[in-house]
Amino acid sequence: MLITCPYCGPRDVSEFTYQGDGNRERPAPASQNLDAWNEYVYDRLNPAGDHNEVWQHSGGCRSHLKVVRNTLTHEISSVVFARGHVPHRSPTKRGSKA
């Protein structure tokens, strides 16, 4: 499987670490709502089809990526930086000036 890191370009899945379900929302830090925390820490979606996932390019630029992957076909339809404000540039593109 290849994941196209927005910075590094397409890389082998062995360079990445799966960091879980990308649909989870962390409660406010001071929240005492245990149900919400429980849902965040333990509940995971397991869809047959497109899934929002978090991967870290741990063997590369170490960015965290939001990946939409089809769990039936492994097809990856979207990869973006988890940090929205990071410029999306891959080195292959950096060779040519716009």
């Binding site: 499987m1 290849l2 245990l34």
Partner: protein
């Protein structure tokens, strides 16, 4: 001249003679021969014994699909079993052996299994050995009794016991177009794509490029096909855009157009070059794949179809045309399609007499009749072979009138004398890789074959792979595929080479099996007969997936290459359904066997890299016994002559507590936490406060996971307002880094913080003991180190031996201690300066064992206690849980289950029988050596304590804190260690900390 070598012809080098041995007997062949072709040329017909029945077997094919002629190749003491003789290139000194025979290939005692055939039919193992033990000769216990004998008698080659001295390597490759197969279609595709500017890799599993052009005997563009192909292949090899990989089997097609291939780099060489790997595991990432993998000829299923001397028709054609080897001297052919006629022509031209062609079809075309009459063969249309004669070699065949519409045999049988029977049951495109890539194959009723599915990834098929069996079609499709793969389009006026061949009808008759008395083999390698398939059907195993598992049809190296379609056809007939409704199994990687060494690649024999500290060489030179702690190599002890490990660490720990000791702590994980929000970030990730920490001070910190479980601990130093140096335990450095990065990227992206692993930037030495400060004072320049300048948890900057150092006063040993950090490249320099400065004071270097001993005495926790199950409270670290702020894990850590008083809690243990403890041993309230039970906890770390003069341990015990002062027992049945213990506080030594505070 060898008895079966044609006087001329073939792509072998007749001027080069190669000497090799098979089953201890010396043979010769020519350069370019395979082991199979060379042995056939020498008149050898018996190659092995079959899997279950030990039937004599010859060679069935000329390629990777060979099920019978599996041999063991020996190199020194290393054995490689189950290699098809058809794929072994001979070299001077090659040593090969036949398999599954005892005492010899010719006289095999287990051949008696043939008489017991009914007893070991399909499902034999399941029926006999599975299920409850009812009676003595059934069930799993009976299996345990018989296993040894069965494993010895059944099966294939024997693996060696000697280590494989070969080298293996991995190679990562990238290209625009990967062409799999180098027959006419593949050659054309590669040349066309490369000319269009694409980066191309061509993988060919054989040594010679050219595929069918090497043996078709056809002419292309007016020259012999083999010469045409050789010319094209030369062009590819010198093309700047093309990498040609001969002897390379593409065996896996994975997601994202990633393909795996095995290159046999030196298997054909007598003396591999220096540093050359035996196999190279290619991982090829490509934009497009051209699958030009050709097709495989199928056998026909009839009684005795496995007798040595029975061969696939076009395999014999290949032996004749490519190797100049005659499969027999008097040959009969048995076919359901036209391709056998071309084989007959090839053999006749090479010098064989063709006795007869038996064709199941009632009529054949005039073109084929003409070919047959050119060979002098008599054609028996509407006939079938019903038996073969001979023992370890074929002597004749029996034929009978046959109605191909209903399979009915009629009339008298008659015998035809022949020493070789060539069969052709039609062709199956080699669609394995396409099948691996995803979609289901589709059945073509005219070609009676599964054709590749619609492409699911970026691959394009060409030639026989598509069911386009003529060379002219292959050339045209290869051209189109090459253009398309490189992003171009073919034009109608493209001037393409044309093959000059007598056109045959690609469609075979829909005949797979001749049902007559006797065993007709579907899977030769596993001795699965047509009757076994029907038995499976009668017993209810009607799904192809069940059929495969129940009968072993198509398993192991075969992977359905030979047996797939005939097996399906027989099952379909039994079910009364058309073949496509029965379906086919999905092909999975690998397409052909892969050496495990190639997958381990450069890690073979060398599992992990070593991480070395800056002072590594010093430790080794000074007698340290090194110990692998994860990837790190650390001194365990610096033993003196005659000391045991225990004596050494006790001496090191005692000396440290009495005078001073120094230990290399460079392995501690170190993370630079920098930026205006660094303090805020640390407040969120640690359970205690860091924003209040003054510059030039350090603080001990604890991290929890989100679920409230303890994760890691360590000290963090504030080097500047925006600049912290966090330390982690050695083992958790990577995990903590990822944890922090996750929160910074995913949860708090607004924080301005940079995290950098600086573990390797710093060399660290911890020096502790009553004399530690005096030693430092004698060598540190530029700063005082007294209590005022350097209080507990204080940091100063100075120089040792001219090198800038940071000194932090903190203690793991419980003594007055300091950690001295400097740039890693100066590590040994500073370490040596400290050693020299410490000499007058009696300073000793100490290793991990003494370090562990002193931390156990102090009751400090490490990864053995922070084991992913314990909470801060379990470890008596609740004093570190700030109530003034939320932090990671703060919301979840107070859940009922995590706050329960009867959880496993950290305690100390004293040995009451003066014997040592082992980590992992259980603690029980009552001792029952015969039947240990009722564990209340376990030991996490143990040592002999020089400070207490007894054996002690740290343990996690149920409700441990309430048990202080009570007695229990250590129960370690595996190591036969039982005995009384006293449960005490984990603070064994100097609980007030008076020593380290000085």
């Amino acid at each position: 001249m060898s008895p079966r070598r044609a006087t001329s012809g073939g792509r072998i080098d007749r001027l080069r003679t190669i000497r090799f041995t098979f089953d201890g007997k010396a043979f010769t062949g020519h350069a370019g021969d395979t082991l199979a072709s060379a042995l056939l040329a020498n008149g050898v017909t018996l190659f092995g014994r079959s899997f279950k029945y030990h039937r004599p077997r010859g060679v069935l094919t000329a390629g990777i699909d060979e099920p019978n002629a599996l041999v063991t190749v020996l190199r020194g003491d290393a054995r490689e079993p189950n290699v098809p003789a058809t794929t072994v290139e001979i070299y001077d000194g090659l040593v090969a052996e036949s398999q599954n025979r005892f005492p010899s290939l010719k006289w095999d005692v287990s051949a008696v299994n043939q008489l017991a055939g009914k007893l070991i039919s399909a499902g034999f193992y399941y029926k006999t050995f599975m299920g409850p033990a009812i009676g003595p000769l059934k069930g799993t216990r009976f299996w345990m009794l018989c296993e040894h004998f069965i494993r010895r008698a059944a099966g294939l080659g024997r693996a060696g016991r000697a280590a494989d001295p070969s080298r293996y390597e991995r190679m990562n490759a990238f290209c625009d177009v990967l062409v799999v197969g180098s027959g006419p279609a593949g050659l054309m595709a590669a040349a066309t794509a490369a000319d269009k500017g694409a980066r191309v890799i061509v993988a060919e599993l054989d040594a010679r490029l050219g595929g069918s052009a090497n043996w078709s005997g056809e002419a292309i563009d007016g020259m012999p096909a083999a010469e045409w192909a050789a010319g094209l292949a030369e062009g590819l090899k010198s093309h700047p855009n093309i990498r040609v990989l001969p002897r390379t089997t593409v065996w896996g097609f994975y997601d994202g157009n990633t393909l795996a291939a095995l290159e046999r780099v030196t298997d054909h060489k007598e003396h591999p070059g220096k540093g050359e790997p035996r196999h190279r595991h290619w991982v090829i990432r490509t934009k497009k794949v051209v699958l030009a993998t050709g097709a495989m000829e199928r056998p026909l299923i009839f009684p005795g179809n496995d007798r040595p001397g029975v061969m696939l028709a076009n395999a014999a054609r290949r032996y004749a045309n490519e190797f100049g080897v005659l499969a027999g001297s008097k040959v009969a052919l048995f076919t359901n399609n036209d391709s056998a006629y071309h084989a007959a022509v090839a053999l006749q031209k090479a010098g064989t007499s063709i006795a007869a062609i038996i064709d199941v079809r009632p009529n054949v075309s005039d073109a084929m009749r003409n070919l047959a009459s050119d060979t002098g063969a008599q054609i028996h249309t509407g006939h079938a072979v019903v038996a073969t004669e001979g023992s370890t070699a074929l002597t004749g065949i029996k034929i009978q009138r046959f109605d191909s519409t209903n399979g009915v045999l009629s009339g008298e049988s008659r015998t035809i004398q022949a020493d070789c029977l060539l069969m052709s049951g039609g062709w199956s495109p080699t669609i394995h890789l396409a099948s691996q890539a995803g979609a289901k194959a589709r059945w073509d009723n005219e070609l009676q074959a599964f054709l590749p599915p619609e492409p699911t990834q970026s691959w394009i098929g060409a030639g026989a792979f598509n069911g386009s069996f003529s060379t002219t079609e292959a050339i045209a499709e290869g051209h189109v595929a090459g253009l398309a793969a490189a992003g171009g389009k073919a034009a109608a006026n493209d001037d393409l080479p044309v093959a000059d061949a007598v056109a045959g009808d690609p469609a075979p008759a829909a005949v797979f099996e001749i049902r007559a008395d006797g065993k007709g083999f579907v899977d030769f390698q596993h001795d699965v007969t047509a009757e076994d398939v029907r038995l499976a059907h009668r017993e209810g195993f009607v799904s192809v997936e069940h059929l495969k598992r129940y009968t072993t049809l198509g398993m192991a190296t075969d992977q359905g290459k030979i047996s797939n379609i005939p097996g399906l056809a027989i099952m379909a007939a039994a079910l009364g359904k058309p073949i496509p409704e029965v379906g086919t199994t999905r092909f999975r990687p690998p397409f052909a066997p892969v050496s495990v060494g190639s997958l381990a690649a450069e890690r073979y024999g060398d599992i992990r890299p070593e991480r070395l500290t800056p002072m590594h060489d010093w430790h080794v030179e000074h007698g340290a016994t090194m110990y692998a702690a994860g990837l790190w190599h650390r001194p365990m002890i610096y033993g003196h002559a005659g000391e045991t490990i225990e004596q050494a660490y006790v001496r090191e720990a005692r000396t440290t507590r009495e005078t001073a000791g120094i230990v290399d702590v460079s392995t501690l994980g170190k993370i630079a936490v920098q930026g205006p929000d660094a303090a805020e970030f640390l407040d969120r990730v640690y359970t205690n406060m860091f924003s209040t920490l003054a510059v030039g001070k350090a603080r001990y910190g604890l991290m929890l996971r989100e679920d409230g479980i303890a994760m890691d601990d360590g000290t963090t130093w504030r080097l500047g307002k925006n600049d912290f140096l966090m330390t982690t335990t050695t083992a958790n450095a990577g995990k903590v880094m990822q944890h922090l990065e996750y929160f910074l990227d995913m949860i708090w992206p607004d924080l301005k913080v940079t995290l950098t692993s600086v573990t390797d930037q710093w060399a660290g030495a911890a020096i502790g003991g009553p004399q530690a400060r005096a030693i430092l004072a004698s060598c540190v320049k530029g700063t005082p180190v007294d209590n005022t300048a350097l209080p507990f948890m204080g940091i100063v900057h100075g120089k040792i031996a001219d090198v800038p150092v940071m000194v932090c006063r903190l203690s793991f040993s419980g003594e007055m201690a300091f950690e001295v950090y400097c740039g890693a490249d100066y590590g040994t320099h500073v370490w040596q300066a400290l050693i020299d400065a410490g000499k007058p004071f009696g300073l000793v270097p100490y290793g991990l064992e003494a370090l562990g001993t002193m931390r156990i005495e102090k009751g400090h926790v490490t990864g053995a206690e922070i084991d992913g199950r314990t909470t801060a409270r379990d470890l008596h670290l609740d004093w570190m849980l700030s109530t003034r702020k939320p932090f990671i894990g703060s919301a979840m850590m107070d859940r009922n289950g995590l706050a329960s008083p009867d959880r496993l809690q950290l305690v100390g243990l004293l040995s009451l029988d003066n014997r040592p403890f082992n980590g992992g041993a259980h603690i029980e309230e009552e001792l029952d050596e015969q039947n240990p039970h009722g564990s209340i906890g376990h030991i996490t770390a143990a040592c002999y304590s020089p400070a207490l003069g007894r054996y002690i341990a740290l343990a996690l015990v149920n409700g441990g804190k309430a048990r202080h002062g009570s007695r229990a027992f250590v129960s370690d049945p595996l190591r036969k260690r039982f005995g009384p213990v006293q449960i005490v506080s984990h603070h064994f030594y100097d609980p007030e900390g008076s020593r380290m505070h000085g």
